[in-house]
Symmetry: C2
Subunit: 240 residues, 2 copies
Protein backbone atom coordinates (compact mmCIF):
# COMPACT_ATOMS: atom_id res chain seq x y z
CA UNK A 1 0.00 0.00 0.00
CA UNK A 2 2.49 2.56 -1.19
CA UNK A 3 0.20 5.53 -1.19
CA UNK A 4 -3.32 5.02 -0.04
CA UNK A 5 -3.67 8.80 0.20
CA UNK A 6 -4.48 8.87 -3.48
CA UNK A 7 -7.81 7.27 -2.81
CA UNK A 8 -8.51 9.13 0.43
CA UNK A 9 -12.06 10.43 0.59
CA UNK A 10 -11.14 13.55 2.49
CA UNK A 11 -7.75 14.12 0.92
CA UNK A 12 -8.41 17.61 -0.38
CA UNK A 13 -10.61 18.93 2.37
CA UNK A 14 -8.27 17.75 5.12
CA UNK A 15 -4.93 19.12 6.26
CA UNK A 16 -3.17 16.99 3.69
CA UNK A 17 -4.68 18.99 0.87
CA UNK A 18 -1.85 21.44 1.40
CA UNK A 19 0.85 18.98 0.46
CA UNK A 20 2.84 18.23 -2.67
CA UNK A 21 3.02 14.76 -4.11
CA UNK A 22 6.38 14.06 -2.48
CA UNK A 23 5.25 15.26 0.90
CA UNK A 24 2.08 13.23 0.78
CA UNK A 25 4.17 10.17 0.20
CA UNK A 26 6.14 10.76 3.32
CA UNK A 27 3.01 11.41 5.33
CA UNK A 28 1.46 8.30 3.89
CA UNK A 29 4.34 6.26 5.20
CA UNK A 30 3.71 7.24 8.78
CA UNK A 31 -0.08 6.96 8.59
CA UNK A 32 -2.15 4.11 9.92
CA UNK A 33 -5.87 3.61 9.45
CA UNK A 34 -8.04 2.53 12.34
CA UNK A 35 -11.73 2.02 12.88
CA UNK A 36 -13.44 2.75 16.16
CA UNK A 37 -16.92 1.37 16.89
CA UNK A 38 -19.77 3.71 17.77
CA UNK A 39 -19.85 4.78 21.39
CA UNK A 40 -16.28 3.86 22.17
CA UNK A 41 -13.86 6.31 23.72
CA UNK A 42 -10.92 7.15 21.47
CA UNK A 43 -8.89 8.81 24.19
CA UNK A 44 -9.70 9.86 27.75
CA UNK A 45 -9.02 13.17 29.51
CA UNK A 46 -5.43 13.07 30.68
CA UNK A 47 -4.27 10.32 28.32
CA UNK A 48 -0.82 10.60 26.86
CA UNK A 49 -0.97 12.15 23.42
CA UNK A 50 0.70 9.50 21.29
CA UNK A 51 -1.08 10.22 18.03
CA UNK A 52 -2.92 12.81 16.02
CA UNK A 53 -5.37 11.96 13.26
CA UNK A 54 -7.57 13.02 10.42
CA UNK A 55 -11.17 11.91 10.58
CA UNK A 56 -12.04 9.93 7.46
CA UNK A 57 -15.63 9.11 8.33
CA UNK A 58 -18.00 9.29 11.27
CA UNK A 59 -18.53 11.84 14.01
CA UNK A 60 -16.37 12.43 17.05
CA UNK A 61 -17.38 14.27 20.20
CA UNK A 62 -14.94 15.97 22.55
CA UNK A 63 -16.20 16.11 26.12
CA UNK A 64 -15.26 17.35 29.55
CA UNK A 65 -16.97 16.05 32.61
CA UNK A 66 -17.24 16.20 36.37
CA UNK A 67 -17.23 13.16 38.65
CA UNK A 68 -20.88 13.73 39.50
CA UNK A 69 -21.85 12.98 35.91
CA UNK A 70 -22.27 16.46 34.54
CA UNK A 71 -20.91 16.47 31.05
CA UNK A 72 -20.34 19.04 28.34
CA UNK A 73 -19.53 18.41 24.72
CA UNK A 74 -16.85 20.96 23.85
CA UNK A 75 -16.40 19.97 20.24
CA UNK A 76 -18.06 17.98 17.49
CA UNK A 77 -15.82 16.79 14.69
CA UNK A 78 -16.68 15.54 11.26
CA UNK A 79 -14.88 13.90 8.32
CA UNK A 80 -11.78 15.84 7.21
CA UNK A 81 -11.45 17.47 10.64
CA UNK A 82 -8.18 17.16 12.48
CA UNK A 83 -8.11 15.46 15.84
CA UNK A 84 -5.28 15.88 18.26
CA UNK A 85 -2.82 18.07 20.07
CA UNK A 86 0.53 18.53 18.42
CA UNK A 87 3.21 19.80 20.81
CA UNK A 88 1.19 18.68 23.81
CA UNK A 89 1.98 15.61 25.79
CA UNK A 90 -1.52 14.94 27.10
CA UNK A 91 -5.14 15.17 26.06
CA UNK A 92 -7.22 17.78 27.82
CA UNK A 93 -10.55 16.34 26.71
CA UNK A 94 -12.10 12.98 26.17
CA UNK A 95 -12.69 12.05 22.53
CA UNK A 96 -15.42 9.56 21.81
CA UNK A 97 -16.79 8.01 18.62
CA UNK A 98 -20.42 9.05 18.21
CA UNK A 99 -20.94 6.82 15.21
CA UNK A 100 -18.42 4.34 13.88
CA UNK A 101 -15.32 6.37 13.10
CA UNK A 102 -12.46 5.82 10.69
CA UNK A 103 -9.24 7.62 11.49
CA UNK A 104 -6.03 8.21 9.62
CA UNK A 105 -3.56 8.29 12.50
CA UNK A 106 -0.03 9.62 12.69
CA UNK A 107 2.49 9.20 15.43
CA UNK A 108 2.46 12.54 17.20
CA UNK A 109 6.20 13.09 17.24
CA UNK A 110 6.62 12.13 13.63
CA UNK A 111 3.76 14.42 12.72
CA UNK A 112 5.40 17.25 14.62
CA UNK A 113 8.54 16.65 12.61
CA UNK A 114 6.46 16.83 9.43
CA UNK A 115 5.01 20.13 10.57
CA UNK A 116 8.46 21.48 11.17
CA UNK A 117 9.64 20.29 7.77
CA UNK A 118 6.62 21.45 5.79
CA UNK A 119 5.55 24.98 6.62
CA UNK A 120 2.52 24.73 4.35
CA UNK A 121 1.24 21.94 6.55
CA UNK A 122 1.79 23.99 9.63
CA UNK A 123 0.06 27.01 8.17
CA UNK A 124 -2.93 24.96 7.20
CA UNK A 125 -3.08 23.48 10.68
CA UNK A 126 -2.87 26.94 12.21
CA UNK A 127 -5.72 28.14 10.01
CA UNK A 128 -7.79 25.18 11.10
CA UNK A 129 -7.16 25.74 14.77
CA UNK A 130 -8.07 29.40 14.37
CA UNK A 131 -11.31 28.35 12.69
CA UNK A 132 -12.07 26.02 15.52
CA UNK A 133 -11.40 28.79 18.00
CA UNK A 134 -13.94 30.96 16.20
CA UNK A 135 -16.51 28.24 16.19
CA UNK A 136 -16.14 27.48 19.87
CA UNK A 137 -16.37 31.17 20.75
CA UNK A 138 -19.65 31.31 18.88
CA UNK A 139 -20.61 28.23 20.85
CA UNK A 140 -19.73 29.78 24.17
CA UNK A 141 -21.98 32.68 23.29
CA UNK A 142 -24.85 30.36 22.45
CA UNK A 143 -24.51 28.37 25.65
CA UNK A 144 -23.91 31.42 27.81
CA UNK A 145 -26.62 33.72 26.59
CA UNK A 146 -29.27 32.06 24.50
CA UNK A 147 -32.61 30.55 25.53
CA UNK A 148 -33.30 26.85 25.18
CA UNK A 149 -35.27 27.39 21.96
CA UNK A 150 -32.48 29.47 20.45
CA UNK A 151 -29.86 26.97 21.45
CA UNK A 152 -31.60 24.02 19.87
CA UNK A 153 -32.29 25.96 16.68
CA UNK A 154 -28.66 27.09 16.56
CA UNK A 155 -27.41 23.55 16.97
CA UNK A 156 -29.62 22.27 14.17
CA UNK A 157 -28.41 25.04 11.89
CA UNK A 158 -24.81 24.34 12.74
CA UNK A 159 -25.16 20.66 12.02
CA UNK A 160 -27.07 21.33 8.81
CA UNK A 161 -24.29 23.68 7.74
CA UNK A 162 -21.55 21.21 8.48
CA UNK A 163 -23.33 18.21 7.01
CA UNK A 164 -23.47 19.62 3.53
CA UNK A 165 -20.83 22.30 3.88
CA UNK A 166 -19.84 21.89 0.25
CA UNK A 167 -22.21 24.39 -1.33
CA UNK A 168 -22.26 27.26 1.09
CA UNK A 169 -23.67 30.23 -0.75
CA UNK A 170 -26.88 28.53 -1.76
CA UNK A 171 -30.22 30.24 -2.17
CA UNK A 172 -32.31 31.76 0.57
CA UNK A 173 -35.20 29.79 2.05
CA UNK A 174 -33.41 26.60 1.24
CA UNK A 175 -34.72 23.22 2.23
CA UNK A 176 -32.40 20.83 4.03
CA UNK A 177 -32.88 17.21 4.98
CA UNK A 178 -30.36 15.33 7.08
CA UNK A 179 -29.84 12.74 9.77
CA UNK A 180 -28.80 13.99 13.16
CA UNK A 181 -25.48 12.36 13.97
CA UNK A 182 -26.17 12.71 17.70
CA UNK A 183 -28.79 11.63 20.21
CA UNK A 184 -30.98 13.92 22.33
CA UNK A 185 -28.68 13.32 25.23
CA UNK A 186 -25.70 14.42 23.17
CA UNK A 187 -27.60 17.45 21.95
CA UNK A 188 -28.25 18.31 25.59
CA UNK A 189 -24.56 17.92 26.40
CA UNK A 190 -23.69 20.25 23.54
CA UNK A 191 -26.10 22.91 24.70
CA UNK A 192 -25.83 22.79 28.47
CA UNK A 193 -29.44 21.64 28.77
CA UNK A 194 -31.22 18.46 29.85
CA UNK A 195 -32.60 15.80 27.52
CA UNK A 196 -36.12 16.77 28.44
CA UNK A 197 -35.66 20.41 27.57
CA UNK A 198 -34.12 19.51 24.23
CA UNK A 199 -37.00 17.18 23.51
CA UNK A 200 -39.58 19.82 24.39
CA UNK A 201 -37.89 22.38 22.20
CA UNK A 202 -37.73 19.94 19.31
CA UNK A 203 -41.44 19.32 19.74
CA UNK A 204 -42.12 23.02 19.79
CA UNK A 205 -40.05 23.66 16.69
CA UNK A 206 -42.07 20.92 15.04
CA UNK A 207 -45.34 22.45 16.19
CA UNK A 208 -44.25 25.82 14.76
CA UNK A 209 -43.44 24.15 11.49
CA UNK A 210 -39.80 25.21 11.69
CA UNK A 211 -38.69 21.60 11.43
CA UNK A 212 -40.28 18.32 10.49
CA UNK A 213 -39.24 15.02 12.06
CA UNK A 214 -39.70 11.81 10.10
CA UNK A 215 -38.24 9.99 13.08
CA UNK A 216 -36.30 11.36 16.00
CA UNK A 217 -33.05 11.42 14.04
CA UNK A 218 -34.18 12.50 10.61
CA UNK A 219 -34.69 16.25 10.35
CA UNK A 220 -36.32 18.13 7.54
CA UNK A 221 -35.80 21.88 7.62
CA UNK A 222 -38.17 23.55 5.17
CA UNK A 223 -36.62 26.99 5.56
CA UNK A 224 -33.11 27.23 6.90
CA UNK A 225 -33.18 31.02 7.12
CA UNK A 226 -36.22 30.88 9.32
CA UNK A 227 -34.48 28.46 11.67
CA UNK A 228 -31.49 30.77 11.73
CA UNK A 229 -33.76 33.59 12.79
CA UNK A 230 -35.29 31.48 15.55
CA UNK A 231 -31.77 30.69 16.72
CA UNK A 232 -30.82 34.35 16.83
CA UNK A 233 -28.12 33.77 14.24
CA UNK A 234 -26.91 36.04 11.50
CA UNK A 235 -28.95 35.23 8.42
CA UNK A 236 -25.82 35.38 6.31
CA UNK A 237 -24.41 31.84 6.02
CA UNK A 238 -20.94 33.23 5.35
CA UNK A 239 -20.81 34.68 8.85
CA UNK A 240 -19.75 31.32 10.25
Amino acid sequence: MANRCETCAVRHRSLCGALEQKEVERLSQISRRTTIPAGKAIVAEGDKAVFVANILSGTVKLTRSLEDGRRQIVGLQFPSDFLGRPFRTHWSVQAEAVSEVELCQFDRKQFEQMITDFPTLEQRLLARVLDELDRIREWLFIVGRKTAAERVASLLVMIADREHDAGCGSSLHETVVFDLPISRSEMADCLGLTIETVSRQMSQLTAQGAIDLRNSRSVHIPDLQRLRRIGGLAVDPAAI
Copy 2:
Protein backbone atom coordinates in the same frame (compact mmCIF):
# COMPACT_ATOMS: atom_id res chain seq x y z
CA MET B 1 14.37 53.79 18.41
CA ALA B 2 16.30 51.05 16.70
CA ASN B 3 15.18 48.22 18.88
CA ARG B 4 12.70 48.98 21.57
CA CYS B 5 12.12 45.23 21.94
CA GLU B 6 15.16 45.06 24.19
CA THR B 7 13.29 46.92 26.88
CA CYS B 8 9.94 45.24 26.26
CA ALA B 9 8.29 44.18 29.50
CA VAL B 10 6.71 41.07 28.02
CA ARG B 11 9.47 40.20 25.58
CA HIS B 12 10.17 36.72 26.85
CA ARG B 13 6.71 35.68 27.78
CA SER B 14 5.21 36.81 24.49
CA LEU B 15 5.43 35.28 21.04
CA CYS B 16 8.62 37.20 20.39
CA GLY B 17 10.47 35.20 23.00
CA ALA B 18 10.98 32.58 20.30
CA LEU B 19 13.07 34.82 18.12
CA GLU B 20 16.77 35.33 17.53
CA GLN B 21 18.38 38.72 17.82
CA LYS B 22 18.30 39.28 14.08
CA GLU B 23 14.66 38.29 13.79
CA VAL B 24 13.62 40.49 16.67
CA GLU B 25 15.20 43.38 14.87
CA ARG B 26 13.11 42.80 11.81
CA LEU B 27 9.98 42.43 13.89
CA SER B 28 10.86 45.56 15.75
CA GLN B 29 10.95 47.47 12.51
CA ILE B 30 7.37 46.68 11.67
CA SER B 31 6.02 47.20 15.17
CA ARG B 32 4.14 50.20 16.43
CA ARG B 33 3.11 50.93 19.98
CA THR B 34 -0.34 52.26 20.75
CA THR B 35 -2.27 53.03 23.88
CA ILE B 36 -6.01 52.53 24.15
CA PRO B 37 -7.96 54.16 26.98
CA ALA B 38 -10.06 52.04 29.33
CA GLY B 39 -13.47 51.13 28.00
CA LYS B 40 -12.72 51.87 24.38
CA ALA B 41 -13.31 49.32 21.64
CA ILE B 42 -10.14 48.21 19.90
CA VAL B 43 -11.93 46.52 17.01
CA ALA B 44 -15.56 45.68 16.35
CA GLU B 45 -17.07 42.41 15.15
CA GLY B 46 -16.72 42.32 11.40
CA ASP B 47 -13.93 44.91 11.18
CA LYS B 48 -11.22 44.37 8.62
CA ALA B 49 -8.23 42.68 10.21
CA VAL B 50 -5.47 45.14 9.44
CA PHE B 51 -3.23 44.39 12.40
CA VAL B 52 -2.30 41.83 15.01
CA ALA B 53 -0.70 42.72 18.32
CA ASN B 54 0.95 41.69 21.53
CA ILE B 55 -0.58 43.03 24.70
CA LEU B 56 2.05 44.91 26.68
CA SER B 57 -0.12 46.01 29.58
CA GLY B 58 -3.76 46.10 30.56
CA THR B 59 -6.64 43.71 30.04
CA VAL B 60 -8.60 43.10 26.86
CA LYS B 61 -12.01 41.45 26.61
CA LEU B 62 -13.28 39.71 23.50
CA THR B 63 -17.06 39.79 23.22
CA ARG B 64 -19.90 38.64 21.02
CA SER B 65 -23.31 40.17 21.32
CA LEU B 66 -26.86 40.20 20.08
CA GLU B 67 -28.76 43.32 19.05
CA ASP B 68 -31.04 43.02 22.07
CA GLY B 69 -28.10 43.68 24.37
CA ARG B 70 -27.21 40.18 25.44
CA ARG B 71 -23.46 39.93 25.58
CA GLN B 72 -20.94 37.21 26.26
CA ILE B 73 -17.25 37.64 26.94
CA VAL B 74 -15.55 34.91 24.94
CA GLY B 75 -11.99 35.73 25.91
CA LEU B 76 -10.01 37.68 28.46
CA GLN B 77 -6.50 38.62 27.51
CA PHE B 78 -3.62 39.79 29.60
CA PRO B 79 -0.13 41.19 29.08
CA SER B 80 2.01 39.02 26.77
CA ASP B 81 -1.09 37.51 25.15
CA PHE B 82 -1.43 37.68 21.41
CA LEU B 83 -4.38 39.52 19.94
CA GLY B 84 -5.50 39.02 16.39
CA ARG B 85 -6.32 36.76 13.51
CA PRO B 86 -3.48 36.03 11.13
CA PHE B 87 -4.66 34.67 7.77
CA ARG B 88 -8.14 36.03 8.34
CA THR B 89 -9.44 39.14 6.68
CA HIS B 90 -12.00 40.08 9.35
CA TRP B 91 -12.51 40.03 13.08
CA SER B 92 -15.13 37.64 14.40
CA VAL B 93 -15.35 39.23 17.82
CA GLN B 94 -15.27 42.66 19.33
CA ALA B 95 -12.11 43.47 21.29
CA GLU B 96 -12.39 46.11 23.99
CA ALA B 97 -9.94 47.60 26.44
CA VAL B 98 -11.06 46.78 29.98
CA SER B 99 -8.39 48.91 31.57
CA GLU B 100 -6.00 51.16 29.70
CA VAL B 101 -4.18 48.92 27.26
CA GLU B 102 -0.81 49.19 25.58
CA LEU B 103 -0.36 47.22 22.39
CA CYS B 104 2.60 46.37 20.24
CA GLN B 105 0.96 46.26 16.84
CA PHE B 106 2.11 44.70 13.58
CA ASP B 107 0.64 45.07 10.15
CA ARG B 108 -1.20 41.81 9.61
CA LYS B 109 0.24 41.04 6.20
CA GLN B 110 3.76 41.82 7.24
CA PHE B 111 3.30 39.68 10.31
CA GLU B 112 2.06 36.82 8.16
CA GLN B 113 5.19 37.16 6.09
CA MET B 114 7.25 36.97 9.26
CA ILE B 115 5.42 33.83 10.26
CA THR B 116 6.17 32.29 6.93
CA ASP B 117 9.83 33.25 7.17
CA PHE B 118 10.35 32.22 10.78
CA PRO B 119 8.96 28.79 11.58
CA THR B 120 9.83 29.13 15.25
CA LEU B 121 7.47 32.08 15.41
CA GLU B 122 4.74 30.11 13.74
CA GLN B 123 5.19 27.16 16.03
CA ARG B 124 5.01 29.35 19.06
CA LEU B 125 1.87 30.97 17.73
CA LEU B 126 0.33 27.58 17.05
CA ALA B 127 1.11 26.47 20.58
CA ARG B 128 -0.53 29.60 21.93
CA VAL B 129 -3.67 29.15 19.89
CA LEU B 130 -3.89 25.54 21.02
CA ASP B 131 -3.58 26.73 24.61
CA GLU B 132 -6.33 29.21 24.09
CA LEU B 133 -8.51 26.50 22.59
CA ASP B 134 -7.99 24.43 25.73
CA ARG B 135 -8.85 27.31 27.96
CA ILE B 136 -12.01 28.18 26.12
CA ARG B 137 -13.14 24.56 26.15
CA GLU B 138 -12.74 24.55 29.88
CA TRP B 139 -14.73 27.76 29.87
CA LEU B 140 -17.51 26.29 27.80
CA PHE B 141 -17.77 23.51 30.32
CA ILE B 142 -18.00 25.97 33.18
CA VAL B 143 -20.68 28.06 31.51
CA GLY B 144 -22.62 25.06 30.22
CA ARG B 145 -22.71 22.89 33.30
CA LYS B 146 -21.74 24.65 36.48
CA THR B 147 -23.90 26.39 39.06
CA ALA B 148 -23.63 30.11 39.70
CA ALA B 149 -21.50 29.57 42.79
CA GLU B 150 -19.14 27.26 40.94
CA ARG B 151 -18.86 29.64 38.03
CA VAL B 152 -17.95 32.62 40.15
CA ALA B 153 -15.42 30.60 42.12
CA SER B 154 -13.94 29.25 38.89
CA LEU B 155 -13.59 32.72 37.45
CA LEU B 156 -11.84 34.01 40.53
CA VAL B 157 -9.44 31.09 40.45
CA MET B 158 -8.75 31.59 36.78
CA ILE B 159 -8.01 35.27 37.25
CA ALA B 160 -5.87 34.59 40.29
CA ASP B 161 -3.92 32.02 38.28
CA ARG B 162 -3.36 34.36 35.38
CA GLU B 163 -2.56 37.39 37.48
CA HIS B 164 0.49 35.86 39.04
CA ASP B 165 1.10 33.05 36.60
CA ALA B 166 4.82 33.32 37.16
CA GLY B 167 5.16 30.95 40.08
CA CYS B 168 2.77 28.14 39.27
CA GLY B 169 3.75 25.21 41.39
CA SER B 170 3.50 27.07 44.65
CA SER B 171 2.43 25.56 47.93
CA LEU B 172 -1.00 24.25 48.79
CA HIS B 173 -3.39 26.41 50.78
CA GLU B 174 -1.75 29.44 49.35
CA THR B 175 -2.97 32.94 50.00
CA VAL B 176 -3.57 35.25 47.08
CA VAL B 177 -4.43 38.92 47.00
CA PHE B 178 -5.23 40.72 43.78
CA ASP B 179 -7.34 43.37 42.14
CA LEU B 180 -10.11 42.18 39.86
CA PRO B 181 -9.41 43.63 36.45
CA ILE B 182 -13.11 43.46 35.59
CA SER B 183 -16.38 44.83 36.96
CA ARG B 184 -19.33 42.77 38.22
CA SER B 185 -21.04 43.34 34.93
CA GLU B 186 -18.05 41.95 33.06
CA MET B 187 -17.87 38.99 35.40
CA ALA B 188 -21.52 38.32 34.58
CA ASP B 189 -20.77 38.53 30.86
CA CYS B 190 -17.94 36.04 31.28
CA LEU B 191 -20.11 33.58 33.13
CA GLY B 192 -23.46 33.82 31.39
CA LEU B 193 -25.10 35.21 34.53
CA THR B 194 -26.62 38.53 35.61
CA ILE B 195 -24.87 41.17 37.68
CA GLU B 196 -27.18 40.47 40.58
CA THR B 197 -26.40 36.78 40.66
CA VAL B 198 -22.67 37.45 40.54
CA SER B 199 -23.02 39.92 43.38
CA ARG B 200 -25.01 37.48 45.49
CA GLN B 201 -22.48 34.73 44.92
CA MET B 202 -19.63 37.04 45.83
CA SER B 203 -21.48 37.90 49.03
CA GLN B 204 -22.00 34.25 49.76
CA LEU B 205 -18.37 33.36 49.14
CA THR B 206 -17.50 36.16 51.53
CA ALA B 207 -19.97 34.86 54.12
CA GLN B 208 -18.41 31.40 53.83
CA GLY B 209 -14.99 32.89 54.32
CA ALA B 210 -13.78 31.62 50.97
CA ILE B 211 -12.90 35.14 49.92
CA ASP B 212 -12.47 38.46 51.60
CA LEU B 213 -13.30 41.76 49.92
CA ARG B 214 -11.51 44.90 50.98
CA ASN B 215 -13.53 46.77 48.40
CA SER B 216 -15.52 45.40 45.49
CA ARG B 217 -12.42 45.06 43.32
CA SER B 218 -9.82 43.91 45.76
CA VAL B 219 -9.99 40.19 46.47
CA HIS B 220 -8.19 38.30 49.16
CA ILE B 221 -8.27 34.52 48.79
CA PRO B 222 -7.08 32.92 52.02
CA ASP B 223 -7.01 29.40 50.57
CA LEU B 224 -6.86 29.00 46.81
CA GLN B 225 -7.30 25.23 46.97
CA ARG B 226 -10.53 25.67 48.86
CA LEU B 227 -11.84 28.06 46.23
CA ARG B 228 -10.85 25.57 43.56
CA ARG B 229 -12.89 22.93 45.32
CA ILE B 230 -15.91 25.23 45.53
CA GLY B 231 -15.53 25.86 41.83
CA GLY B 232 -15.49 22.16 41.05
CA LEU B 233 -12.00 22.48 39.61
CA ALA B 234 -9.17 20.02 39.69
CA VAL B 235 -7.10 20.83 42.74
CA ASP B 236 -3.92 20.43 40.74
CA PRO B 237 -2.89 23.86 39.43
CA ALA B 238 -0.96 22.24 36.57
CA ALA B 239 -4.18 20.84 35.11
CA ILE B 240 -4.89 24.14 33.41
